[in-house]
Amino acid sequence: MTNGPIDLDVYNELKDATGDKFAVELVSTFLDEAPGMMADLTTALAGGDADGYRRAAHSLKSNAATFGACSLAELARKIELGDMPEDGDLTGVNTLQTALDMARSTLQDLING
């Protein structure tokens, strides 16, 4: 099942391995932390901080992979590996934000469900 923003095989494996209660706690932590990572990314882009830009994308990629948010992880990986866009071009950031919003919404449903 890889159609939605979250690969449920990955998510369920996480739940099985760490326990339902812990998985909920971990998802909540990610939901809390993710906006900060996006903010780091945007700030780094605006300030021309290539290292910070790459690191924020790296962090998002790593967490996205943990929860099975495959397309989010792939987008973040592209940003991590790519050059920082010139003139503060937000296209990449906006695409990432959309993918993140979708992943967060599904994850929110999963922990509520």
Partner: protein, 341 residues
């Protein structure tokens, strides 16, 4: 089942990763310590007992590469196993981790079964290394053990400036004839315990035990600021300890023990002598012969503590009980001044 235990330090700037890894290792029976970047981790290492590091690479303040460099350059931390857990891109980065001393690499998200196997294997290796180190220290003094760990083992010596101390228990043969074997061994053990304490507390090493005496080195394998001062201080403590022991013995109606100490300072050749299979850290040269002769000389002169001119020259504020001018010492052509303390 083997009981799992160990303090694992998880170093990751990402909170989700820290939580997940600590949960994973705790479920395996380990204790987790957390650090949010390399700097915090290095500070924690100074105060906490850590058996293994799970180390992220991409981190602010101090990244994983820098942590590996710190660990490698510090003898105290060098043997702590490190498993790099990262989603860092590029094979060259992983290779760099291994080259910097990381034991293993696990990509994130970390597979639980792999994590379990790698942790057990790394900790077992560490346990064996620790045991080897303990054995080495038991048989070779911690300084020699350190030297072996730093430079590896090779038969051969190098020239160094050092002070050599010989100490001998007087009339031991006579004493032992009056004692049963168990009591003799006990007396020797007491003697050695006290003398070792005097030597090691002054940064020397006991290089030989000779029945009822010993040879100690100051300034090799690790150089000392003033090897003469350290050796003489050790000698003084030996006499103090024997005096205390004699007070106890007097209470039990036993005879006094007496020791003689000789110290010489100068160039020596120190290193590992023997064969590749069995070798000992030792020291040779005329300085060693002179120290041995001075110790023997205490039986002739009646002064219990004799040092040579070179040792004397390096001492600060010393009171000499007596100087024997131009004394002819067996094995040495030129007569020389020796000092009794």
């Amino acid at each position: 089942m083997v009981e799992l235990s160990g303090n694992l330090l998880i170093v990751d700037d990402n909170k989700v990763n820290r939580l997940l890894l600590s949960r994973s290792v705790e479920m395996l029976g380990y204790r987790a310590l957390l650090a949010e970047n390399g700097r915090v981790a290095v500070n924690l290492l100074a105060t906490q007992d850590v058996d293994l590091l799970l180390l992220d690479i991409e981190m602010p303040e101090m990244d994983g590469f820098e942590v590996l460099e710190v660990l490698k350059s510090n003898p105290e931390f060098r043997d702590i196993p490190v498993i790099v857990t990262s989603s860092v891109e590029g094979l060259d980065n992983i290779v760099r981790c291994i080259e910097l001393g990381a034991d293993d690499y696990l990509p994130k998200p970390v597979n639980k079964t792999l994590l379990k196997a790698r942790l057990a294997s790394c900790l077992e290796k560490k346990r064996l290394r620790d045991e080897q180190k303990r054995l080495l220290e038991r048989f070779a003094t911690s300084e020699v053990a350190q030297d072996l760990q730093n430079s590896g083992f090779a038969i051969g010596g190098k020239r160094a400036h050092a002070s050599v101390l010989f100490c001998d228990l007087r009339g031991f043969t006579g004493l032992s004839e009056q004692l049963d074997p168990e009591a003799t061994i006990e007396l020797l053990n007491t003697f050695y315990t006290l003398m070792f304490e005097a030597v090691t507390s002054n940064d020397g090493i006991v290089s030989l035990m000779l029945g009822d005496g010993l040879m100690a080195l100051f300034g090799v394998p690790q150089p000392l600021e003033n090897s003469s001062q350290s050796a003489v201080q050790a000698g003084r403590e030996m006499f103090d300890m024997i005096e205390t022991l004699n007070t106890e013995r007097a209470g039990e109606g036993l005879d006094d023990l007496r020791i003689g100490v000789g110290i010489a300072t100068g160039e020596v050749v120190a290193g590992y002598a023997g064969t590749d299979n069995r070798a000992t850290y030792t020291c040779i040269g005329s300085t060693v012969n002179l120290a041995a002769r001075l110790e023997a000389e205490t039986k002739i002169t009646g002064s219990q503590f004799l040092i040579d001119q070179s040792t004397f020259d390096l001492l600060e504020e010393v009171e000499v009980a007596r100087t024997y001018k131009r004394t002819q010492i067996k094995g040495f052509a030129e007569p020389r001044d020796i000092h009794a303390l």
